[in-house]
């Protein structure tokens, strides 16, 4: 059995070595795949805070992914058409600057998570799952019917946005930027997990009545976790949109919400690097199986079923021999 700490470092090292190899071997597509994995991992790291620590089975995290994507799409769209966004007396200039886009994505998705969380956390269990799924669908249909930003067709952005001091048009530089953001998010997760808040949140998942009897409100703890979680997933949405230079309603789709949970469960739920391992495997499977058969999702379904029924701790659970938290 291998210690979890070693697995974590090996995975991170892989994310540094593989793209560098691809750079020298002149395989830019591999860098793009690795970037995709890093961004999906970031989205799942966000979800893992709500799901893995707080036990909140959110089937609507695509809302935040999509909001982040549209934050990028709308700001960049106004910048590339030189037409400011006019909201009554408020006039907002578009921008191609990633830091501004990121802050917008974080704030928008945090606010959405606050409202959705306030409503859905009035309930627990199955209700919570169905309600978050329903809110996801609400944003999906809204984005389809709101034709100002492309409706069903989505929005194309011609040139990737800028980050001060970097040339983001170079795949390896954009990859490095995304990896740095991912590491930051992993740092947040690991700090949060051991903080007083993380302790209380983790207890609220296991024994909410206990948390109440020490004078804390489990619902508020979960709400904050949901907001932080939504904000991080929102940030990943902005990066994902920048990777593809395209946003569309599919970023809001329920399949995406499901896939984010799948990533976490493949890697190991509640584990720091669970989402990262899951995302890497998911992208690898998508690429390898997708090359063999058009119907690779059948095999993903089978793998997922086997993991749920026989290997609850995911890859990390198998490697370390420890089942991990029970969500």
């Amino acid at each position: 059995m291998i210690a979890e700490r070693w697995i974590n470092w090996i995975v991170l090292l892989g994310f540094v070595v593989l793209p560098l190899w691809a750079l020298f071997a002149d395989e830019p597509f591999t860098i793009t795949l690795a970037t995709r994995a890093v961004i999906l991992a970031l989205a799942a790291v966000g979800l893992n805070i709500a799901l893995g620590i707080g036990g909140l089975v959110s089937l609507g995290h695509a809302v935040f992914f999509g909001l982040g994507g549209y934050a990028m799409g709308i700001l960049a769209h106004h910048a590339q058409t030189y037409a400011p966004l006019e909201l009554g007396p408020l006039v907002i200039e578009g921008t191609k600057s990633m830091p501004i886009i990121w802050v917008t994505a974080l704030v928008t998705s945090a606010l959405a998570a606050l409202v959705i969380g306030l409503l859905s956390l009035r309930t627990t269990g199955v209700y919570f799952i169905m309600i978050t799924l329903a809110f996801g669908q609400m944003f999906f249909f809204f984005s389809i019917s709101w034709s100002a930003y492309g409706g069903e067709d989505g929005l194309s952005i011609y040139v990737r946005n800028d980050f001060p001091g970097l040339n983001t048009l170079q795949p390896i530089q954009f990859f490095g930027l995304c990896l740095a953001v991912l590491c930051l998010a992993l740092g947040i997760h690991s700090r949060l997990r051991t903080s007083p808040f993380g302790l209380a949140l983790n207890a609220a998942r296991q024994a909410p009545e206990r948390v109440e009897t020490v004078g804390l409100n489990p619902m508020r703890l979960k709400l904050l976790a949901f907001v932080i979680s939504g904000a991080l997933t929102g940030l990943s949405g902005a990066l994902f949109a920048d990777l593809n230079r395209f946003v569309s309603p599919t970023m809001f789709s329920w399949q995406l919400s499901g896939e984010l949970i799948v990533l976490i469960i493949i890697g190991g739920v509640g584990r720091l690097m669970g989402p990262v391992i899951g995302a890497a495997l998911f992208v690898a499977l998508e690429h390898l199986l997708g090359g063999l058969t058009e119907f690779w999702l059948v095999w993903l379904g089978v793998i997922l079923l086997l993991i749920v029924l026989f290997a609850r701790g995911g890859i990390i659970g198998i490697l370390t021999g420890k089942a991990g938290p029970n969500v």
């Binding site: 700090r191 949060l192 007083p196 209380a200 024994a207 804390l216 409100n217």
Partner: protein, 249 residues
């Protein structure tokens, strides 16, 4: 006599046709252990839930340190000084014993919104948690996963978490269950000393412990308090013998 630390007045709660508590008025005075006894289904659990905020009573009030807390949530009552242990352990089973005690310390210090800094490195929280574990005699188990504890040890941890809160009143739901003879004796001695710190409302099936500890006993039958009095009074009450001890008068 001074005002009771905890007082219920005319508490009523019905589930459909079943009157789980009927007009229950109980006082818990400073420095005492007040035991609630009664057969299974007498309404003891419902009474505790109403005192601690799990159920809203249909009628009646709960006062803690002179303040009406009837409309407050469980968490708000805990903040005002109600320290509770559960009959069926409600602990974070995946966490260590220390982490469970730390949770109490975090609640007592009202620090749940600290997102940064490891909780185990916070000296004041850690000292408070370790002290509570030491007082109930499980400091050596601090790094054990709670799920691996015996039932008796979980009882001790329940009490330790309540201690970290430094409450004005303890509500203990069967702290002796599963302890065994030796453990019961240790817990009895411990609770005996604890009453000077804060009074204890004790629900307990272990009659030896109740008779050894209680200053007063209330007998709950079919949701009603049929008698309240000293150990001697309850032992000798004909009504209690008939209704509860099942003896022919």
């Amino acid at each position: 006599m001074s005002e009771p630390v905890l007082a219920t007045r005319n508490l009523k709660k019905a589930f459909g046709a079943l009157q789980a508590t009927d007009d229950v008025s109980i006082d818990l005075r400073a420095g005492e252990i007040h035991a609630i006894i009664g057969p299974n289904g007498a309404g003891k659990s419902t009474l505790i839930a109403q005192i601690c905020g799990g159920y809203r009573p249909d009628a009646g009030t709960v006062h803690l340190a002179g303040v009406d807390v009837t409309s407050l949530s469980t968490a708000e009552r805990a903040q005002r000084g109600l320290g509770r242990t559960f009959q069926i352990s409600a602990l974070a089973m995946e966490d260590t014993v220390l982490e469970n005690a730390l949770l109490g310390a975090v609640g007592h210090a009202r620090k749940p919104w600290r997102l940064w800094g490891a909780v185990e490195r916070d000296r004041s929280l850690r000292d408070r948690a370790m002290e509570a574990l030491a007082r109930v005699g499980i400091a050596d188990l601090a790094d054990q996963i709670t799920a691996n504890l015996s039932h008796g040890q979980r009882r001790q941890l329940e009490v330790a978490v309540a201690l970290t809160l430094a409450p004005k009143a303890f509500i203990m739901d069967e702290p002796m269950a599963g302890l065994g003879a030796e453990g019961s004796k240790v817990m009895t001695t411990f609770l005996d000393g604890l009453r000077s710190e804060a009074p204890i409302l004790l629900v307990e099936h272990d009659m030896d412990a109740v008779f050894a500890l209680a200053d007063r006993i209330s007998v709950l039958v079919y949701g009603r308090v049929i008698a309240t009095g000293s150990v001697e009074e309850i032992r000798n009450s004909r009504e209690v013998r008939e209704a509860y001890l099942g003896e022919e008068a």
